[in-house]
Symmetry: C2
Subunit: 279 residues, 2 copies
């Protein structure tokens, strides 16, 4: 199976920068091209020698590339794809690292059809720090990357992309864009919002007694607000559905506490303990 000889990362931040660093380490023969809008980012990439071609136009960055990885906010991806379409190599693979897949798939798939292979990717890695300055060459170690090919995707291309993410260190699973969005709404997007809700709900004075439990539970609330606004908007319906389940469970917990029902409280905590330990 042929690898990707030339790879382009568009708009490297934490994820794109970590892809570059990991490729430099694990696949030094791969030619790396990058597009970054900000001069500061281009300088950083140059200083750290993270790419062979550092481009200030999108068109230059994708020329001759076998794999193009979009790392922009998902809202601007359609516009970027329209711009690179004329210069994209025939048969290139285009993927992204966005946290929401169905709307991106709906927007990009028909545009790229016949010219390039479009398959969405979502590496479940990151953290509360963003930007290329937080990038590292082990970010994908043991992380899960979800690939979201639709049934019409070319099998060999899916395998190549899967090998790519596994070479970076992640485990891969394949889901449809819609199922992916429903799962991450529950496991990532709603919990982010819930962490923000928790932080906003506690009194400033009570923060005097913060311990490791609260630190962990609330950690993700420190993530970049703008990025999370985009994600929560793009996956709006599934997040609402997931948060309504939490709302119903919260109401049930309140009733248990108000009734002082020890048996039901024990069951609630024991169920959660067992499920959490199974992860």
């Amino acid at each position: 199976m042929q690898n990707f000889n030339t790879i382009t990362v568009i708009a490297p931040g934490l994820l794109g920068g970590s892809i570059l660093k990991t490729l430099r380490k694990k696949s030094p023969q791969t030619r790396l091209k990058v597009y970054a809008r900000r001069e500061e980012t281009r300088l950083t990439i140059g200083e750290e020698q993270l790419a062979d071609d550092i481009c200030s136009t999108l068109e230059d960055s994708v020329k001759d590339s076998d794999l193009v990885i979009l790392c922009t906010p998902i809202q601007v991806m359609p516009e970027i794809v329209q711009q690179i379409l004329p210069v994209l190599k025939n048969g290139a693979v285009v993927t992204d690292v966005g946290s929401v897949k169905a709307p991106v798939h709906t927007a990009l798939s028909p545009v790229l059809k016949g010219k390039a292979h479009w398959i969405g990717s979502h590496p479940m890695a990151g953290g509360e720090n963003s930007g290329i300055e937080s990038a590292r060459d082990n970010l994908f170690d043991k992380a899960i990357t979800v690939l979201t090919p639709t049934p019409d995707a070319n099998g060999e291309t899916v395998n190549k992309l899967r090998s790519f993410w596994e070479m970076l260190g992640s485990k891969t699973i394949t889901l449809t864009p819609e199922i992916h969005d429903a799962y991450v709404a529950q496991i990532s997007h709603m919990p982010h919002l819930l962490a923000a809700i928790l932080v906003n709900a506690v009194s400033p004075e009570s923060l005097q007694v913060v311990g490791p439990g609260f630190r962990d539970t609330s950690r993700i609330a420190a993530g970049p607000p703008d990025m999370w606004v985009d994600i929560l908007k793009a996956n709006n319906k599934a997040v609402i559905s997931a948060l309504k389940k939490v709302q119903a469970e919260t109401q049930r917990a309140l009733e248990i506490l108000e009734q002082g029902d020890t048996g039901k409280l024990q069951s609630l905590l024991a169920d959660a303990c067992k499920k959490r330990r199974s992860i």
Copy 2:
């Protein structure tokens, strides 16, 4: 200021065991006595030489002791104090490591008055693993220990107890029992219940895409259910109040999502981000 020459730990689990290990390391001259109901625990303590006197009766364990530390569930503390009262050294200091302070203070303070000094302690350390097998000699490093003396407490005794917890590695703060309980309801007890609610609310299938965010947010839900039932019952009213604030914030977040109000969503996340980063 005189130190405690002889210290008794009653019912060492994660916290009591960590107190023993830390004292052995940082204060090898202190005589350590311990009471453990289970033979297995007494054998472990013997093998690891964590105490000088390993007792199978409460009475033996507190004889001649200058500081007695109760590490049992808070519900059984009154009964234990009744049992040790006749043999307790005059002027001894009695404290505990319980997570709820007002009900314990109300129960123990009048019983011990005139015989020993009662001051509650709450070292905010621990984790999802319990039992003496998880004990370690750095558990209290940089942890916060809350002391909850009431205005009638002897100032010198409060200072001695504060020095004790600082010697173990923790930072100390002083709060009334009632204020302590209100703060920890918000920062520890309600978040524990919320983590359990979150875990119970997500579908088993979605756990396929678990990443570091969900792992951290839900970690405390793996804590021992029996211990947490006791804590949530003992601090029932304050936990209900804290969870109702989360419920109100959740309702507000749902309305924002349903209205697609980007500005309000941005504010909600930005407020939480700023507050979380300030910790």
